[in-house]
Symmetry: C2
């Protein structure tokens, strides 16, 4: 059999169930899928492919899965740092969104984020924003995979001036988006339990359920939210969501920092999923999510960066490193959150959190060929004793050399092939010039 694409001459981090590492491995791809993964012995020939990608001794691994983004917010990268969350949100981000978010700016903000993600090895993201149809078109155009939700919030929002239309608009988007591409999965993104009424939450969840969509929601992000929930709902944010029927296997709880032990048990029992965003949680001083306890309770946890306005980048390699270190120091135990746990969260765990673990998240026959090649011929990646350790603790997104999604090469030798990067950067600079004039 001649394959469409063969990736060879690298160490394969499969991130399969046994966390197999193949010293001299070959990934054989046909029709966008991984057909087989071969371990080469000394003289065995390399399988034949119409296209060959030589990893040159680097590391071959699954594309990373970013479980929480607001792609167009790359427009606001570094606009406002080191501020209290309420000032950051109310005095900077919301006004900038009200004034500068429109289909044109959303398009270039999303393309910028996609370019950054794909160049740093992220092949799938789970996003929530407004004008999400434009976001979906950008993700599709660049060739990535996405679970993409139109935002629902009980305030006037970009493109949805009347909150009474918020669910209608989210549903219209989801229906428009269905069938755009097998790589694009519509979703519904309810902003939070404190910005959406009980009725909005229930109706949005029902709309997601009737269409089999992932339901994303920020929850228990700040201590303030936790305290207010006690006053308003006489219970924790998580138990409130459970009471009104929001928690189930298709619900992705984003942040999930301020949880009590019962909350963790409920999340586990409902098989709801969690997106952990350590760098955003640190930068906004929200707190440290009890991820060790969540994992211990069997909860599926994926890793996310959050939007660029609170991170300020989308590099999941750095996010893995930070996640490992944060939880070690927080627990005063260097053995927790080890390389395998972290790599799982950034790949198969993330895929499972957004309902795509049957399709992506590991390098295994039958899965979509979303593959990343990391160049290890750089001083900070030499020597190598353990490729998984190198990926988590030493590599960063700029070490990614080649990126493949569904068998298509999107990045080759660090060059993004599917869009005009210079044009995107130029357009974003113009938009930011306007924002600066404010």
């Amino acid at each position: 059999m001649v394959f469409d694409l063969v990736i060879h001459n690298g160490v394969i981090l499969t991130v399969n169930r046994d966390f197999d590492i193949i010293e001299d491995g070959v990934v054989c791809i046909k029709n966008g899928e991984i057909v087989k993964i071969v371990a080469r012995s000394n003289d065995s020939p390399v399988p034949e492919g119409d296209e060959m990608l030589d990893a040159q001794g680097g590391i071959i691994m699954p594309g990373l899965v970013n479980t929480h983004t607001h792609l167009p917010m790359a427009l606001f990268r570094g606009l406002a740092d080191d501020l209290p969350l309420s000032v950051w949100l109310n005095e900077w981000i919301f006004p900038a969104e009200a004034k500068h978010i429109n289909p044109e700016s959303v398009r270039f903000g999303a393309l910028l984020s996609c370019a950054e993600m794909i160049l740093s090895g992220t092949t799938t993201c789970c996003d929530g924003y407004f004008y999400e149809d434009v976001v979906a078109a950008a993700v599709d155009e660049i060739g990535m995979r996405g679970v993409l939700g139109q935002g629902v919030i009980d305030f006037p929002a970009p493109g949805v001036p009347d909150p009474a239309d918020n669910i209608k608009s989210a549903v219209a988007y989801a229906e428009k988006c269905q069938g755009l591409s097998h790589r694009i999965h519509p979703s519904i993104f309810c902003h939070s339990p404190y910005t959406c009424s009980e009725e909005t939450l229930k109706r949005a969840k029902a709309a997601a359920d009737s269409r089999g969509l992932v339901f994303q929601i920020h929850v228990a992000e700040t201590r303030d939210e936790y305290v207010r929930s006690q006053t308003e709902h006489r219970t924790t944010p998580v138990k409130y969501l459970d009471r009104i029927g929001i928690l189930d296997p298709n619900t992705l709880l984003v942040h999930a920092i301020w949880l009590d032990p019962d909350d963790i048990e409920i999340i586990s029992k409902r098989n709801a999923k969690v997106s952990h965003n350590p760098e955003s949680n640190m930068k906004l001083a929200s707190g440290v999510a009890p991820v060790l306890d969540l994992l211990m309770a069997g909860v599926t946890v994926g890793l996310g960066t959050d939007g660029c306005a609170s991170n300020n980048d989308l590099d999941l390699f750095r996010e893995m490193d930070t996640a490992a270190k944060l939880h070690k120091v927080n627990a005063l135990d260097s053995t927790v959150m080890n390389t395998r746990t972290v790599l799982n969260m950034a790949t198969i765990g993330g895929a499972k959190a957004i309902g795509l673990d049957g399709v992506i998240g590991s390098l295994e026959a039958g899965k979509q060929a979303d593959v990343v090649v990391v160049d290890t011929c750089r001083p900070h990646l030499v020597p190598i004793y353990n490729p998984a350790s190198q990926i988590v603790y030493a590599a960063n997104g700029q070490d990614v050399r080649d990126v493949v999604v569904s068998g298509n090469i999107l990045v080759r030798d660090r060059e993004l092939l599917t869009v005009d990067l210079e044009d995107i950067l130029e357009k974003v600079r113009k938009i930011s010039d306007d924002i600066k004039k404010k």
Copy 2:
């Protein structure tokens, strides 16, 4: 006047006392020194230089100062992760050092670390290890600046099989090293209060003082050390060092995590300096150093990576990002450890911590020309509202394009000009093959 080197067409982050940022700035260099820094107006001509370095709209900033390294330990990068500190040290690092550390391996380990540092914008390091004369030769060869101390420990050590010779060996190194180059400053590195006797500490400090050398020492790194100090010395590690006369302005306290309020006051009163190593402290789960309190007490704090075996890289850009985020989440206050504070720690604060603030650490006339150009034409660095924010929260070492030390261009367009990088990588790979056989 025709300058030797003119760096132009970039935003200058001076990191001077006023933290001036110059939109379109020019750095004029002669005889290795910054002669002047010019803000260009619209049509003003660029000053003339024998060599011109066009920053192409990027960011021009001081070379970073890494206040704590063990350069040869790059040989052990990723050898042993996710282990308790005692197992890591006693079962992995110490045996590997005993077997594999020799002048040849130290040379290539140090060259590897220097290559990584200089390519990621660090121009000065403060190092402590054994065979430090070999380290000094490597730092000098690559063209960097260093405060470099031979290790003193009351155990058999690489190159110093009899601990009775430890101080003699450190002094002989310092004398040999004096005058090697104006960029190389000898120092004495006493390992810690728990691995050196009181007599050793006092004699080593006296030897440093009589030669005007920086005295480096690990202190109060772990809770265990803190508790043991109470038993053995009936006081905290810092108060013990103070009691025996170790604390003064030439002493650099490395880690300084487990401090009580009195310790902080004493460090401040003695004007001793602190090297803060957040990523190493997180990865080894040592704890969070009370850096906010130290800064509040007026203590000079520099940033450090520690050795590659506990980080696992030497990228000070990432270290800045982590430092900011760690202290924000630890204090549950997003306004602390802001970009200016962090950038200061990585430049002028670090320079002051190792006694070089009159020479380096900021871009100002009269200082040595240690300058870094950061390429901002990359998706993760667009748009730019605040260059300092971009450096701390979005950039990493691989965004560094050009590096100048004492007016010499060591890196141009990401190419390291002073040593054969491929040869170093190959030599280190061979050494690591031996270590793997263990």
